[in-house]
Structures are given as structure tokens and as C-alpha cells.
Amino acid sequence: MSTDTSRRAFIAASAGAAGFVALAPGVKLMDLAQANADPDVASGKVRWGMLIDTTKCATGCSDCVTACAKENAIEPGSGRPSQSSQWIRKIELKEKTGGHRELSLPMLCQHCANPPCVDVCPTGASFKRADGIVLVDRHICIGCRYCMMACPYQARSFVHEPLHNQNPEVPRGQGCVESCTLCVHRVDKGQTPACVESCTHQAMLFGDLNNPDGEIARRINTVTSSQVRADLRLDPGVRYQGI
């Protein structure tokens, strides 16, 4: 009997407490969700992206690929180049007609707003951060490689061999899928990705796509840029100019 009474009292108290949890007038739940009191946490107001000017990107130059490998301690696998991790690669294009115009561009994870790799991940390891960076949570990645099949940009790699010389800030290991992290460890410190920093031709521009006063948003508004496979409507964060 006493148990029953205390249970009723508890329910009544809970109902009363719930009544007090109300929002102040004019405050929406969305505002609360987006309010980032802590500047140390990735903000949903920011969307990191990149604009690559293919007219400036030099044929034969692979500084961005080298810088990426150095920053993220990506080493070639033992004797199987096809199995080595590749976070960024250079692509050379040639127009078949006319004056045979040649183009060169770096291809990397496009950090889509609607990433297919995240859709297909069975464990939730493939995820998108609030600021638009698409990452793999290696703690829960089971190495099934569905995301590699889903990615139309072939941006992801699987680590086949044990690794030892990781950058302390870039953990990587055997049995997980990985891809460009947009140098998230650098971005969180206020720096730019290693590839952007290394580009001597100023072909790569990094910034917040949501900031209308920023250089990248200004450029995207004024020059013609395109999305690779725009037909898939993935809204990539990496845009190309001159293709």
C-alpha cells in the first residue's frame, strides 16, 4: 500500500516538474539546438568547403597529394599500390575535340551535404559533423566497405595492413575505411587543410560556404563553379571552377 502511495506521489511530482519545463516565449527548439555556447565544438552554422580553380591547377603537379600524405602519415602499402590509401588524387582530363584542352584537378572526398556513404553505413560509423565534414568513426567501423561502393567519387579507401607511424592527431588503422577528413584536426585549430596550404598555384581555396562575407562564398557567387556529378544532387562541399 505504501509503495503504491509513493509511486503515485512520484508520478504527480514528475508531472509537475514536466509542466515547468517550458520554453520562454519566442525561443524555438531549433535556436536552442543551434546555440553553441562552446566555441570549441563544431558549429552547425558553419559549412566547410573548398573551391578548386582548375584553370590554375598545374598539370603534373602533385604538391597537394604529397602534403596530404605527409600530414596524415599515409604511406604506400607493402608492394600493392592498388590497395594503398588514397585521400586525394590528381586527375588529368583532355578534351577530345577542338584544341585538345587539358585540365588537371585534385579529386578528394567532396564532403556532401547528403552523403551516400552515411546513408548506407550499417553501424553509423560514417557520419557528417555539424559543420559539414564527413568522417568515419573508426571506433565503430566494421570495415564492410558499403560506403566505398556508395561513393560516386571513389573517395574512400580501406586499410588492408597494420599501420604504425600514425600522426598522433590522425588515428588510422587496419580494417577500417577512411577518406579525406578535410584535415579536421587542423580546421578545429583554425588552420586550413594541408593540401590547400601546400598549393603553390593558389588553385585551392578553403572556407565557410555559409559565410556570405567570406572569400569562398564571394567567389562562388561571382564565378561559374560546378559540382562534380551535380545530377546526383548530393550538394558537395567541394566545388570546381573551369570544368
Partner: protein, 131 residues
Amino acid sequence: MLRRAVTFLAFITLAMLAALATPAAFAESGRVPKPVIDIANPGQCIASPEVMRRTHMDLLKHQRDKTLREGERHAKISLNGCIDCHASKNNGSVLGTKENFCQSCHTYAAVKLDCFECHQPKAAKIAGVKP
């Protein structure tokens, strides 16, 4: 009769001495070897040793999601922070020999240590990679 009593007493004394001596000898030499810990930068940890011994895995597991998924990189709890202090003087790592911090205790407790399948066990300065 007297001789028999003396022999009996001597026997009892010997047995008692042996009984006293045996556990003491075990505790000193250690039937189970205790972890030997060599720390490069000893000092104040983020919590008391008792708390850290029991909860470091929970603290790290909680923080890893905050760091990776929310980008919280200046938290008090950090695996790299652990390594910076607890790496050994000899090889700058928390792994390698029985004297290295993580390995010595995990070997003692027979608990598998998975962190370093992906994470760098050496302190950032020693790993030779720019921080």
C-alpha cells in the same frame, strides 16, 4: 620424557616460523609480478589514481565521441594527453616493454588494449610528427 617435550617444542617453533615466513616471502618477491611503471613526466593527473584506475576507460570512451563527432578538442580528458605524460623515458611510448605505462597494467590485469591499433602510442614530440 623431557627430550621428547623439547623436540616437540622445537618442531612447533619451526612450523610457526615457517608459517610466518612463507607469506612474507611471497609478498616481497611477488608470485604475481606487480606492474612496474616508468613515467616520463610524473605530476598531477586529471583525477586521483584510484579514480583513474577504475574509470579511465569510461572517461576515454565518453570523450572520444565528443571529440570525433562534435570536434571538442580541448577537453581535459584526451588520449594524447595521457600519452604526453605517461609515455616512458626510454622509448617515449606507452607500449613496448613491461615497464611501459599502458602495457604494464593491461598485461597485469589481462585486459586487451585496443586503442593503439589506430592511435599513435608515442608522445607527439617523440613520434616525430609535427603537432
